[in-house]
């Protein structure tokens, strides 16, 4: 039997802003059999999405197929003129985007967009297409399959939109479906549902798939084979089981190791601290809009959250998107003044509003944001960015300041020569290190880390976590570590606060972040994290009542 997809010596060029041409895909060849699901795994910039899109005969603006060929069911697609490629898109090969929320047109109803493929290619009468769409909605376990298509994209949740985009991809009966990181933007509990729906429709229809992802554990649940990519080149190809358990290539091993960072080693002989806690958060209520006379904001985001953090310890705050964890960091930092409650640093109450805190109070408590891209001023050099807190908090100038900047760069393991560069010239990991160095420049006692590894690739994120631990050992820092990623939190925190819908569910040690964790929601959350085990999804059983109670989908 011939292969459904044959990619031979594929090369893709991209034009940079400065007009240079760089090769982003180098000599890639692989096959996909009928009904087989193949995963493309790699970090950002590895070319996985670019390769997947060439299977549709498409390259993003600025890129072009420079060599090789892509053959789909025996007919080459890479050498066709644009209008002939368009004829095969949606019918032979279709696409499920990373962000369904952005890929649905906000101006049209969902049903019109789902059946659009049949309209463009004149596949069937509109009524038949609609009936077929409803069948697909049912197969994808969507609620209210008969009427959900009459809504606009903003009226359904992210997890539902992602499944609706799968319906949109399947309506034209394609032989191959490309999934481009389709669950990356979803919460773990939602991801399970979406993955299950994808898997069942793909198996039922014996449809071949390309699953693009950076997450090995997710891919392990759905793919038959895995292709590991780095810098536009194939590193290793193998059956899923082999890649997970018998990796050959060093890069694959590195990926697997980074997946499960070593748990936070507790120092046994750490003295029991009788002193008062470093940070106390007491009955915080916060939100947006006008605060009424009883002290409740019109949109309440945080409801009566309290916890303590001791010196030299790390506290993790975990929860799904919208649970209020980032808002809590903003409240503690005073960016968003709380409506009720107190924040005490070393026993002294801090003003709720950042603008009324003293310079020393500001210095002791620093915040590092998720996206270094937006947190670093692109017009300033690295030296300028680091000089500012040094001048502001410590009144440093001249040579002393320069020397301190060099020290800070050493501390975050960056070459001193970077000081003259601008943030845009740095990689994502380097930028996050600068972001961290800026917080260190203040000589803070407590650093609020708001999802600081979420935008980074696993290997880079693991290195940042190592750096955080090292800095803590040397400078007696404490971290308040906010993340949606349980393994990250487990790697660095002594205690974990679980949040749901603005409330603190419970506080527990990361050691018992397993099945015996006290609260049903914590159990649901922890059990939803994919494991590097091909049978995990099929074997996973979750209490449907708990699922129902804690789903705001």
């Amino acid at each position: 039997m011939s292969n459904l997809v044959e990619v031979r010596n594929l090369r893709v060029d991209a034009k940079t802003d400065s007009g240079r041409t760089v090769e982003i895909i180098r000599d890639v060849s692989f096959d996909i059999a009928e009904g087989e699901i193949v995963a493309l795994i790699g970090e950002s910039g590895s070319g996985k999405t670019t390769i997947a899109l060439t299977l549709m005969g498409y390259t993003r603006p600025g890129c072009r197929i420079a060599g090789g060929k892509v053959t789909l069911s025996g007919r080459e697609i890479s050498n066709l003129p644009e209008h002939k490629r368009a004829r095969r898109r949606g019918t032979e090969v279709s696409y499920v985007p990373q962000s369904a929320a952005a890929s649905f047109n906000p101006a049209h109803k969902i049903m019109d967009q789902v059946v659009e493929v049949t309209k463009i290619h004149r596949l069937m009468p509109i009524d038949e297409a609609r009936r077929k769409a409803v069948e697909l909605f049912k197969a994808l376990a969507l609620p209210e399959p008969d009427t959900i298509g009459d809504r606009y994209p903003h009226q359904v949740s992210g997890g539902q939109l992602q499944r609706l985009s799968a319906a949109m991809a399947l309506i034209g009966d394609p032989k191959l479906v490309i999934f481009d990181e389709p669950t990356t933007a979803l919460d773990v509990t939602t991801q399970i549902e979406v993955l299950r729906a994808f898997k069942s429709v793909m198996k039922k229809g014996a449809i071949a798939g390309v699953y693009v992802s950076h997450d090995l554990a997710v891919v392990a649940q759905i793919a038959d084979r895995i292709i590991v990519l780095k810098n536009g080149e194939i590193q290793e190809v193998g059956r899923t089981q082999d890649i997970l358990h018998r990796p050959q290539h060093p890069y694959t091993r590195e990926l697997l190791e980074a997946f499960e960072p070593a748990p936070h080693g507790r120092v046994v002989d750490r003295p029991v601290e009788p002193e008062k806690p470093l940070l106390v958060v007491k009955d915080i209520v916060a939100g947006y809009g006008r605060v009424d006379e009883t002290g409740n904001p019109s949109v309440k985001v945080i409801n009566k959250v309290s916890f303590e953090l001791h010196r030299g310890k790390n506290l993790g705050i975990i929860g799904e998107s919208g649970c209020g964890k980032s808002t809590l960091a903003r409240v503690i930092a005073g960016i968003l003044p709380a409506a009720q409650g107190d924040v005490l640093l070393e026993g002294k109450p801090l003003d709720r509003d950042l603008r009324r805190r003293s310079r020393n109070e500001l210095r002791d408590l620093q915040i590092v944001f998720q996206s270094a891209d937006t947190a670093l001023n692109p017009a300033k050099s690295i030296a300028d960015i680091l000089a500012r807190p040094l001048a502001f908090y410590h009144g440093m100038s001249g040579q002393r300041r320069d020397a301190r900047i060099d020290q800070l760069l050493d501390m975050v393991h960056l070459p001193r020569s970077l000081r003259h560069r601008r943030p845009t010239e740095l990689s994502g990991g380097q930028k996050q290190r600068i972001n961290l160095a800026r917080a260190l420049a203040a000589d803070a006692k407590l650093i609020l880390c708001d999802e600081i590894t979420s935008a980074l690739d696993t290997v880079v994120a693991a290195a940042i976590l190592e750096l955080l631990k090292e800095l803590q050992r040397e400078h007696s820092l404490s971290y308040l570590f906010i993340s949606h990623d349980l393994s990250t939190v487990r790697a660095i925190c002594d205690e974990v606060v679980v949040m749901y819908a603005g409330e603190k569910i419970e506080q527990l040690s990361p050691d018992i972040m397993g099945s015996e964790a006290g609260h049903p929601y914590s159990r649901l959350l922890f059990s939803s994290v994919p494991k590097l085990d091909t049978g995990w999804l099929d074997g996973l059983e979750q209490d449907p009542h708990v699922l129902q109670a804690y789903s705001r989908r």
Binding site: T91, A102, F104, M168, A185, S371, S454
Partner: protein, 339 residues
């Protein structure tokens, strides 16, 4: 990036539910009412500004009207008769009150009711504006959208170059050139536009041709550029790429996917351009000696006819506000997120 995206999405959903929670009686009606209230408040504010700005003009109206030879008694008598010795705020109240009842006052210069003076001129101006809009809006939108569809082609470049050239050339230059070419050399069209002499359809075309061509040039260029930019911006979105990956043609991507989402900015650009037709046509009306309202206002300024100036300014402002409010309403109604 992924996590950031989901945060944004969640905020959007929260916002939406909070909107819903606040008022189930159609948020779109609330928004529309809000826009109309804002328009009325703006109009009052502008009325206030116009009145006191003309108040502050140097010279005493009574003295100007009676001339230098007037006796002080005569001036004082006239001042009393015209309520000029009452406080300005009180006179502002009278004026606003009269405006609302449709009484625009009496011209200082020729003692005619201002509504009579303006009436015919306003109709003339609206005719000119209407014909210009009817011709230039469809042409501008077509050119803007086709340029976006054919981005980067020769066609797109030519449209872009011509629009920039037209924007850069002042309108008196276009108008003067038009007169030289069509009226002087070719002799096809009259150099002056005496609208009241028109009797036949052909005559109407002849009279309007040159002012309309000149004005169309000026306002279309802006609309073409804005339309092209707005459509191109939406063409860069993920949902348009999705349409491409569904096999849609370039034409379908632009007309079906990009255009509905670019409607808000386009309608605003059109409204802004059209508003120019009411107040900003002084040069064109002057050059072609067209008896429109802008020329009337110009004459009123040279004769210090304050009530006439005030009324004209109010009409310009009203026209502008109506256009902008309509544009806002179209943008609101065309956004399903607000329904």
């Amino acid at each position: 990036m992924g996590a950031e995206g989901s945060n944004l999405r969640v905020q959007g959903i929260h916002y939406h539910t909070s909107l819903k929670g606040r008022s189930m009686n159609s948020p779109i009606l609330n928004l529309v009412a809000e826009r109309i209230i804002v328009a009325v408040v703006t109009l009052l504010f502008v009325a206030f500004t116009i009145f006191f700005a003309t108040e502050m003009l140097p010279g005493d109206v009574a003295e100007i009207l009676l001339g230098q030879a007037a006796t002080p008694e005569a001036v004082a008598g006239l001042r009393t008769a015209m309520n000029l010795d009452e406080p300005a705020v009180l006179r502002f109240m009278y004026w606003i009150g009269n405006l609302f009842t449709g009484d625009l006052g009496v011209s200082y210069v020729n003692k005619m009711p201002i509504s009579d003076l303006i009436g015919g001129r306003l109709v003339n101006s609206l005719k000119l504006a209407g014909v210009t809009a009817a011709i230039s809006v469809p042409i501008a939108l077509t050119l803007g959208i086709t340029a976006a569809i054919l981005r980067g082609t020769i066609y797109d470049r030519i449209v872009s170059i011509i629009t920039i050239a037209v924007i850069s050339v002042p309108e008196f230059m276009v108008a003067t050139l038009a007169v030289i070419v069509f009226a002087v050399y070719l002799g096809w069209l009259p150099a002056l536009s005496m609208a009241h002499e028109v009797t036949s359809m052909g005559g109407l075309l002849k009279v309007f041709a040159m002012p309309v061509i000149t004005l169309s040039f000026v306002i279309s260029a802006q609309m073409i550029r804005m339309t092209r930019a707005a459509v191109l911006e939406t063409l860069n979105t993920a949902y348009v790429e999705m349409a491409l990956l569904k096999g849609a043609s370039r034409r379908r991507m632009v007309l079906h996917h990009a255009l509905p989402n670019a409607l808000g900015p386009i309608v605003n650009a059109v409204a802004l351009s059209l508003s120019y037709l009411l107040g900003g046509v002084i040069i064109v009306e002057t050059i072609f000696n067209y008896p429109g309202i802008a020329k009337l206002m110009l004459d009123a300024v040279s004769t210090r006819d304050l009530p006439l100036i005030q009324s004209c300014a109010m009409i310009f402002c009203l026209g502008y506000l109506i256009l902008i409010t309509i544009a806002d309403l179209v943008a609101i109604v065309s956004n399903p997120r607000l329904q």
